[in-house]
Amino acid sequence: MFYREAGQFKTTYEADQAIFPIRQDRIGIGVILAIAFIVIPLFGNDFLINAVMIPFLIFSLAAIGLNLLTGYTGLLSLGTGAFMGVGAYACYKLTSAFPDVNILICILGGGFVAAAVGIVFGLPSLRIKGFYLAVATLAAQFFLDWCFIRVPWLVNYNASGAIEVPLRTLFGVPITGPTAAPATRYLLVLSLVVVMTWMASNLVHGRIGRMWMAVRDMDIAAELIGIRLLPTKLTAFAVSSFYCGVAGAMMVFLWYGGAEAEVFSINLSFTVLFMVIIGGLGSLIGSYFGAALIFILPIVLRLAPTTLGVSINAATIEHLTFMIVGALIILFLIVEPHGLARLWQIGKQKLRVWPFPY
């Protein structure tokens, strides 16, 4: 009824190939962006911005990064946490070596360093695949973790052994460090995430994305039609690690405001992998859904008993949260193995034909 593209004629190829070919989609995305950019910073409280929105966006970006690798190229990686760590530590080194350089450039620089590291650890992917590759990326995870702890140069030899985020400003407004306002940091995170999502969308719709998907569907066949495997797989590793690196740098500089090596442990890798699988492999919007579900669900579960007036002690809630999240993961996989993105598509299709069944 309301959501139908009937009557929207396209007269150019550009219009036909647009990211959002349907007018209602364009309106919808405009409304979402308006809420995200205007309503939330104006009316959201600190808890919503600091503890929900910023981490949600950062995790979404990391999930997009992993999705480019696992969902689009079919290379399973368990080293996401370490690549995020590389981004964070590289950003820290860059900004302490060049304090006058814009912090945004340092964050992106952290991403590029992560991309370089990603390429190195992606090299085995040419010969090994599937779960074997997952173990190879575990090597990256544990080796880099060890480096974060054992190489004091990475944290400028400070006594705490942790990243201490310095104060950096953009146009005179503090954006990192203890004095930065949550709303400023939120807007910065949001802008970066939106721009990078848009770039990822262009990538996967273009030649590179097609190459990735061909490799994912069957790498030997892809090779036979003239796709060179090594450059394709390595670009996937590089781009994915770049996204994860930027997400990691933002995590430390714009969310935590300081971090130890434990933050980037294997658990972070698993969390991001959950988001990608639950959200939907090979879907950008799915990465957002996955991040929302995996990150926000435990928050809601923790808040639920107090809201409902049931008193359970904190440890029990924590354990129950684990159980419920675990059970929900299995349930989601059973109900819809292709993730929340597929549910979204089904919903949209239903809406298009509504109120008729076909």
Binding site: Y132, V135, A139, W146, F322, I324, V325, G326, I329
Partner: protein, 318 residues
């Protein structure tokens, strides 16, 4: 030159000078390797029969050990607790088959892999809810496991072997022998191998997949219980063991995902390599290299033999 000397000459000189230390390190590596192999064995059992890469094996080890200690603590005799734990593992196997595997039949590997992740979370929550998050002490004495150490003289020094380690090695070898006989000689074992080769073909000759899955998950549960007892006797029974279980992955890679002897040989190579590396080369890098050395060994190994030591040859067709 000095650096090269330290890396390539000095460790070997040390080995020659103090052979007793070398033997001690080798022994420790061997024991660690046997325990890795036990965890890897649980993975291999399930992977062979259902193609599921069971991430939950680590937590199953913890869960089995916790159940055993928990039941003992509420006053049951040790062997009754042991029997009940086996029953719990059987129930778990049935539950997993009914609630996780059966609805997910015919899904891609990665989905099943993620489902075992969900299972891991669930078991962590359940374990902590029922038994509490604190580390527990394994009931070594009540199970009549030996304690203390045997020392003997060797090349001018002493080598100390923990009795519990010897017991672990013996039990592990017994278990592998039993599993080998079970797989090769019994009717069910043959059915298991048939399922491993092809689900469809096995179904068409009348093998019940559901039954087979319960059996392998139960067998993996028993292996997990044995592993839990042995690891628990060496350290505490705590959820940290679950991370150690990840060490079974490089073992699997070395041995190949589908090979039981591979798991054993891989475990021993990884265990010995890790301990030797940590003891002789670790100080050069600032220590703690045990955490990643195993993965690096596996990674280098994979570059030369992508299917592992004993894995089946990978044949790819378009």
């Amino acid at each position: 030159m000095d650096g090269l000397y330290k890396v390539f000459v000095e460790p070997f000189v040390q080995m020659g000078v103090a052979p007793d230390l070398l033997v001690q390190t080798l022994w420790e590596g061997l024991v660690a390797g046997v325990l890795y192999a036990l965890i890897a064995l649980g993975f291999v059992l399930i992977f062979k029969a259902s193609g599921v890469f069971n991430f939950a094996q680590g937590i199953m080890v913890v869960f089995a050990a916790l159940t055993l200690v928990g039941l003992y603590e509420i006053g049951l005799p040790a062997f009754v607790a042991l029997a009940l734990t086996i029953v719990v593992m059987l129930v778990l196997a049935f539950g997993v088959e009914r609630l996780v595997l059966r609805p997910l039949v015919n899904q891609p590997d990665i989905i099943l892999f993620m489902a075992t992740f969900g299972l891991t979370y669930f078991l962590i929550g359940l374990g902590e809810l029922v038994f509490g998050g604190n580390p527990k002490v394994m009931i070594t004495d009540a199970l009549y496991l030996p304690r203390g150490a045997v020392e003997f003289e060797f090349a001018g020094g002493f080598v100390a072997l923990q009795k519990i380690d010897i017991a672990a090695a013996v039990i592990a070898s017994l278990m592998v022998a039993c599993l080998a006989v079970f797989f090769q000689r019994t009717r069910i074992g043959r059915a298991l191998r048939a399922v491993a080769d092809s689900h469809k073909a096995a179904l068409s000759v009348g093998i019940s997949l559901e039954q087979i899955w319960v059996i392998v998950w139960f067998a993996a549960g028993i292996v997990a219980l044995a592993t839990g007892i042995m690891w628990g006797a060496r350290s505490d029974v705590s959820f940290a063991l679950q991370i150690i279980a990840l060490k079974a992955l490089p073992v699997l890679i070395l041995g190949g995902f589908t090979s039981i002897p591979g798991a054993i040989v891989g475990g021993i190579i990884i265990g010995v390599g890790e301990k030797l590396g940590e003891f002789y080369w670790g100080p050069l890098l600032g220590g703690g290299i045990e955490s990643w050395l195993a993965y690096m060994i596996a990674l280098v190994f994979l570059l030369f033999r992508p299917q592992g030591l004993f894995g089946e040859r990978i044949i790819e067709r378009v």
